[in-house]
Every structure is written in C-alpha cells, then in structure tokens.
Amino acid sequence: MSILKKAKKAYDSIEIPQELDYVVNRTIHENKLHKKNELKIWMKGATVTLATTFALFVVILNTNESFAKAVEDLPVIGRIAEVFTVREYKEENETDLIEAKIPAIKNTGNSDLENRINYEISSKINEVLDEAKQRAEEYKKAVLATGGTMDDYIPTQINVDYKITYQDEKLVSFVITKSESSASAYQEQYFYNVDIENGKELNLRDVLGENYKKIVDDSVNRQINERIQENENNIYFTADEGGFSGIENEYQDFYINENKKVTVVFQKYEIAPGYMGIQNFEIPNDITV
C-alpha cells in the first residue's frame, strides 16, 4: 500500500497545463450552443416522467393494504372538487420505478355509477401497470441475457396521471395518461366522460346527436387541411397510408374541454407520423348534454 501511496504522490503532482481551464470552459461553452437539441431532449424527458407516474397503479391494486395507506383525498375547492378522490401509488425496485395518481369519483349521489366507473378505472390501470411491469421485466432479462449487468439496466419508469378537462354539476370529463420509459418511450391515454345526473358514460352520439359521425368527420377533415396549409411541416397520412378516413363509431376517443366542446383525440401514429404527436380536434358544435 505504501508503494501506491508514493505513486499517488507522483500522480497528484502531475503538472496541470495552463490551458486546461480554458479548454474545459470553451468545450462546455461550445456544447451549450446545442441548446436547441437539449431542449428537445429535455422535453422528451419531461414527457417520460409524466408517463412514469402511471406504473405505480398496478402494484397498488395487488397490495391493497399499502395502497389503502397511500389513498389520499384530493383537496379541491367547491362542489366540483368533491367529486374526485385520488389514490397515489409508488413503487421502486431494481426493475421499475412506478408513480401513479389514480383518480376515482365520489359524492355523486350515485354509488352504482361510482362503483362501476371506479372499478373500470382500477381494472384498466391494473392491467396497464401489469403489462408495463412485464415489459420492464422482459427488458431486464434481455439485458442480462445478452451479457449486460444490472449496471447496464436502467429501471423502466412508469407514470400514471390524470387531468380533469371539464367539470360541472352534471358532467365530468377527464383523461388518464400512462407513460413508460424503456427502450421505446410511449404514452397511452384513457378518456372518461361521465353524465353524473343520469349515471352513465357518454359517447359521441350522446353529446353530438344522431348526426355525430358527419359532424366529426367534416370538422376533422377541415382542420387537417387547415393545419397542412398553416405549416408545411404538418404532415398527415393520406387515407391510403392509413390516415384519417372518418371515425369508426361513437366510441371514438374524446373529452370535453374547458369551453364545454367535444375534443376528438387521435393517438400518436394513428393519423400522422410520430413527430406530430397526439392529435386533438375541437368540434365547434354545442354539446347536447
């Protein structure tokens, strides 16, 4: 050991060239010029983090006790706030990192409705978290099987979060978003539009009437054309390429936005290349609920 101590003394007295400080600072500065790139990466990172929140859920449902402890009422102001309650779930192990905020509705005066919707959300999130955990497990196995070590494996971040897009005494609309960061980060959204008064989940026919398909198809087609004309970088698949060719039925994804308008949603890749992201179209017609 003392041999090496001597060597360390020699090592520590290696002369530091005067230019070092300059070289280091200039290199850092030059690489700051790529800030645009960095922002992009950072945004991606932010999305991934958002997604990560979702994963926690699956575990929660399976481990009821710890889950129950994590259950928290969301403090909200006024009547609207009381309708939502949030369960938070966190899990961290060597395979994955889950953070989930799972909404449930309450105090609607219709416990059947609450049970049904909350059960639906729970099952959905459980299923989604199970799948995500399985993917993380498979990914870990693949890393280890190909000669990697646990140091090469970055735990998959799974994120579940929700957003209330519209709420009044009769109607509540919210979206749950799940994200995962693994080799390919991706995101999924689940939409809930609930008629509290009548105790049912709403579809497009309920909110736009019998003529819902023509209303949506015309509006989406018009807006796609507008967006293409606005910016040549806006690209949508043609109908031949699997682009938009009219909605299939009244169960098309949508939410009610803060203007109380229907907003139809197409997931990434659904009607446009991946870089276009999730596509939203507000339908100007008043809703009939």
């Binding site: 060597a7 520590d12 290696i14 002369e15 690489n31 790529h34 991606k44």
Partner: protein, 164 residues
C-alpha cells in the same frame, strides 16, 4: 431531468478538471493528448446527457466516458508518445531520491495493462469504491478485486526488478 443532469455534469467537470486531466495523462503520457481526451470526454458526455437517468451517477458515468476516450487515444498515439516527458511534468520539493522513487512507481502504474491500470488509478489515486469501479468498468466486484491484486503484484515486481 437531462436539464438538471447537464448542470450537475458541468459543475462536476469544472470542479474536478485537474483530477480528470491527471487520469487522462496517466493513460496518454502526453500533455496535448491528455487535453484532447478531456475535451473529447466533455463533448461526448454533454452530447449524450439524456442517456444518464440519474444525476447521482454523473461522476461514475463521466469516468467511464473519460477512461474510454483515454484508452482510445493512448492506443492510436502509441508510436509518438514521449515517455520521458513525465519527469518534466512532475514537481516535488522533496529529496531527489524520493522523487525518483515516486516517479518510478508512478511509471510502473503507467506501464500496466489498461485494465489493471484503470482499477489501480480509480482505487488508489481517485479513492473510488470497488462498487463504483465495477460500474465504471462494466465488470463485477470480484473482477475488480482480482485486477487490483494483479496490478499491485505487477507494480511490486517491476520495482523489485529495478532494485536488483
């Protein structure tokens, strides 16, 4: 997160630039090349900062990049590296004999095979934990330990040879 990680990395590099240079120098044995290695490692790490998932690992992660660059450079420049420049670049106020001895040991470290050299530098010069070294070298604890042992053996042998 990459945003935070970037700030952490920049701060780390600025604060530890002398350490980083010494590591690079121990591989390249040449001032110019060592500076290049440091520069290259900074550029690479900033460019790939999004691969770093946890800024707590900034140090280990940067070491890994730096050492890879240093090994790469020492290989490609193997023919025109000046071994004897070391003496000029090491200062000491102590007695000449001691200086010579320290230098000899240091040179013995420099002459080690890369794998052995890396663990010796990180463990004894940089004072890293075995676990960190395993992470940086993408090996496991036992491999690191056995390389440390072998490295020490070789240094001792090379000192003994000189003393005969």
């Amino acid at each position: 997160m990459a945003h935070v990680a970037r700030e952490v990395l920049i701060e780390y590099v600025k604060e530890n630039q002398e350490k980083l240079y010494r590591i690079a120098y121990t591989y390249t044995k040449n001032q110019e090349i060592a500076l290049d290695v440091v520069q290259e490692a900074i550029t690479k790490s900033l460019g790939n900062i999004n691969q770093l998932r946890n800024e707590e690992y900034v140090k280990s992660w940067f070491y890994r990049i730096l050492i890879n660059e240093a090994i790469k450079a020492s290989k490609s420049n193997i023919y025109f590296v000046e071994y004897n420049s070391v003496e000029n670049e090491i200062h000491s106020n102590s007695h000449e004999n001691e200086v010579v001895e320290k230098l000899d040991i240091y040179k013995a470290v420099q002459r080690l095979d890369e794998k052995l050299k890396t663990v010796i530098i990180l463990r004894f010069f940089e004072d890293l934990k075995i676990e960190e070294i395993a992470y940086i070298t993408k090996t496991n604890l036992n491999t690191v330990k056995s390389r440390l042992y072998k490295g020490m053996e070789e240094i001792r042998k090379s000192i003994e040879r000189r003393n005969i």
